[in-house]
């Protein structure tokens, strides 16, 4: 078994699961001011993901850690080349985490209003930046043996922006569906109706992204070589259409599940197209960072494989358990009565 491939798959899975899980927190965070007409409604939205957001964010830390351990050269170059966008991402994630904790610890309208805007902004920025970053990675970064020749402005190329918009739209839809599922009454209805409205621009951006990808990247080459993998983008598109059909049928829970599949599918589509690159070079193919030229030693990969296959299943089991513990809806009455709520 080629452990490089095992770790490439794990790497892709970690990112995909992270986007699926934090995607709805980012989406709900962007929307909580719009959806929550009253202070209590906003708190209901925040508390709907309150017990799980931190655990979801750990998938990102694990994706970063796995990149470091399995592909240290990619970790080193990706993080130093994308210094400024990663810095903005860090600032946003820091602000988001403390905003949830701080927001309802004071009563003043100004205090809460400030933290509400902080939540909106610190949810929007990561969604956009992840999209821009991955779009640029799909297209390849301008690097050669001499180093990196890009800049923050250069990352904001049309394809990067389309990709950023796609992530924002995916997460908005995902977040709206999550709020629709997890809350009740008017709040849930508003979220459901917003999900229907947002679906149209989401589809437009998704189609634009898929089409543009053909011109801006080499992602589709792998699919020409091994058409069997086309099932992944097809599932992604089907799941995206499924979201709207299931919403139409009034089944928000199934629509949310479909949205989960759509996110996994979109990330999977990109990752499969990258193989065997982790970060292609747009300047010179020999300077691309691949799962072979940027990986750890065989011994380290063996150790890390042992660790991953022992502990990740345990993690998945208790994560499923925790979602079961907090299943059901979060109501305004419950939040108002709970002294421990956000």
């Amino acid at each position: 078994m080629d452990l490089h491939i095992v770790w490439f798959v794990l790497w892709g899975v970690l990112w995909a699961v992270y986007f699926m899980l934090d995607g709805f927190v980012l989406g709900a965070g962007m929307l909580h001011r719009v959806l929550g007409k009253s202070d209590l409604d906003r708190r209901v939205v925040i508390n709907s993901f309150g017990p799980v957001w931190d655990g979801n964010e750990v998938w990102l830390i694990t994706a970063g850690g796995a990149t470091f351990a399995a592909f240290p050269t990619t970790y080193a170059l990706m993080f130093s080349y994308l210094y400024t966008p990663l810095l903005l991402l860090l600032f946003a994630l820091i602000v988001r985490g403390v905003s949830f904790e701080f927001r309802s610890k004071e009563e003043g309208a100004t205090w809460r209003g400030c933290w509400d805007w902080a939540i909106v902004l610190s949810s929007f920025v990561p969604a956009l930046l992840f999209g821009v970053a991955f779009g640029n990675i799909f297209a390849g970064l301008p690097m050669d043996q001499a180093g990196y020749h890009g800049s923050l402005i250069a990352l904001l190329n049309p394809y990067g922006i389309v990709s950023g918009l796609l992530f924002v739209m995916l997460f908005l839809e995902h977040g709206a569906l999550y709020v629709a599922v997890k809350t009740t009454g008017d709040l849930s209805r508003r979220a459901e109706s917003l999900a229907r409205t947002l679906w149209v621009p989401l589809l437009v951006v998704a189609v634009a992204f898929l089409g543009y990808t053909n011109f801006a990247t080499k992602l589709y080459d792998n699919y020409l070589k091994a058409p069997v993998f086309l099932v992944v983008p097809l599932v992604a598109v089907a799941a995206l259409v499924g979201v709207r059909l299931l919403l139409g049928a009034g089944n928000t829970l199934a629509a949310f599940a479909s949205s989960c599949v759509a996110i996994l599918g979109v990330v999977g589509t990109g990752v499969i197209g990258l193989f065997p690159n982790l970060i292609p070079s747009s300047m010179d193919a020999l300077s691309s960072l691949t799962i072979y030229n940027s990986s750890s030693s065989e011994y380290t990969l063996q150790i890390m494989t042992g660790v991953a296959f022992t502990f990740v299943p345990v993690v998945i089991l208790y994560k499923i358990w925790v979602y079961r513990v907090f299943r059901g809806t979060v109501t305004a009455e419950a939040v108002a009565a709970d002294h421990e709520a956000y």
């Binding site: 655990g55 796995a66 820091i94 030693s297 925790v322």
Partner: protein
Amino acid sequence: MDVLTLSRLQFAITSMFHFIFVPLTLGLSVLVAMMETRYVMTGNEMYKRMTKFWGKLFLINFALGVVTGITMEFQFGMNWAEYSRYVGDIFGAPLAIEATVAFFMESVFIGVWAFGWDKVGKRFHAVSIWLVALATNLSGLWILLANGWMQHPVGYVLRNGRAEMVDFMALITNPFGLLKFGHQIVSGYTVAGFFVMGISAYHLLKARNREFFKASFGMAAVFALAASIMVGVIGDFHAADVAKTQPAKFAAMEAVWNSCNNAPMHLIAFPDEKNECNLVTALPVPGLLSFLAFHDTNAQIRGITSFPKDERPPVLPVFLSFRLMVGLGTLFILLSAAALFLSKNGLLEKYPLFLKLLVLCIPLPYIANQLGWIVSEVGRQPWIVYGIMKTSDAVSKSLELSQVIGSLLGFTLLYGLLGFVDIYLLAKFARKGPEETHVGASNAFRN
């Protein structure tokens, strides 16, 4: 100022800021878990109120510890790409394992604990805070094994232009990392012990919720005394290990300039870096330093001048931080012993001055923790990985000065603001008694 200097400054600021919150998390998680266990065992509602009151402060503190931790993981790649590339094969593993075995557990069960009072059974609720405490301490273990490797690299070979792991067991049984872990964990418990004693003392001075805060104080005093004694004991072993593995750091810690046998410990000394000697030395205890380092009064201690100039750490900050840390550590043992004695004999409220002193002492264990890290990290210079890689070779090549200036300014402003708000909220909820901590929730309908 160049990219290297600013990157070092940024790493120092972000890690020291991160470390304002981590020690309390390490200790208070265990203390709160003990409180909740008492509640489950006795059914006494006071312990439930204790769990909730101290738990609220725990959560406010926890939030900032978590979010500032992400910065640490990202920075290795962002600012120290050459380091990450060179040692990632062996250094990346403990970080990835930390996330997999510790961060997931911590983040999932903190959610269960904070939001699950009515969702899971009483016993399981207590189990979940124990899992948080376990995970927090486990994350300390892995990150200190990683740091221990930078201090005393083991289990690797230099191959393919980098350090590659060849012995995972050596990495996870590295005595340097394990001693550091032991020393750090109990230092965190000391912070928590003094935090709870100090806040309890504040309320006892105001004669509010006396039973509640006497009981809190009593638990914290036992905890603080046990922890601060352990800090000293493990610290002693740790220093002896440093004398063997990092002689240059040890020489700086004790300001020993010239190698000598039967080295005395000067109770008073002050180093003069320029002239490579001590300005003052007084009150020598013959042979003590040799004895502490090697358990043999005749053992040789290497002096700083025996190292090439470009392999010496800065002496003054390491020396002063070490002295001050040891002094504070001794003070913590005395204070917590006195606190335990007074608490056991019901005499606390007879000595308001002592209570006031304990309120003022809340910051001291925090300071001692920071000083310890200054000894550890400044004392390792000029190496980033002791004996293998210099800090100056580790910085990212692609960085431009403007990027690092921007990030340093950004971190300083953001951390300054958030730190201010966090401490404001901690102080606010610490001042309120256990009955009044329910702000927000119960007032929601009023707004």
